[in-house]
Assembly symmetry: C2
Homo-oligomer: 103 residues x 2
């Protein structure tokens, strides 16, 4: 689904990742739980995700404060702690959305 987001400005977190080969090791369950938790956070606006070789997930947020609060969520911090077990590499880019259009 394409996220329905408000009129800019708002914020986006672009999470680009390369999964490790091998068994799932709780990954799918954790990823699902993290999305569920994120949607409950104050200031969460939407989420888009696709994987094909690399994974691209974009979450949208009302403010930088909302992103910081999500980053510091205790269960999310535990998942972050396990990130190196699931990912070969990842980049997180925190962005201010300035303009949006489309059809």
């Amino acid at each position: 689904m394409i996220a329905e987001t408000p009129k800019p400005p708002y914020y986006a977190v672009i999470f680009t990742s390369l999964r490790r080969e091998g068994d799932d090791d709780g990954y799918a369950e954790t990823a699902g739980r993290m999305l569920e938790l994120a949607t409950l956070q104050p200031g969460f606006l939407g989420f888009e995700s696709a994987r094909a070789g690399i994974g691209l997930s974009v979450s949208y947020w009302r403010s930088l404060e909302a992103i910081a609060a999500w980053k510091n969520n205790a269960e999310h911090r535990q998942a972050q702690h396990n990130a190196q077990q699931w990912y070969e590499a990842y980049r997180i880019r925190i962005c201010r959305v300035e303009k949006e259009y489309g059809f």
Copy 2:
């Protein structure tokens, strides 16, 4: 591939799309050509893309001016003109990348 981008600030264009069902109708060729052209544009920094249900493509740019110049590229404008034939819906979000981290 995860894009290698410089120290922020720089810009990102998040392109989220839903393809139409049906035949390709020149889509793959045009998409490949647009990526080839984009990489030749002044200020192009990198590109990441994945599709699974929705498509997510993120291109990274040095400046808003570089993004505007790419938008106005003649061959790109022709492709934009055909967009409704390939896409059920799309959103373009123009963002200023303020922070980047990862491993």
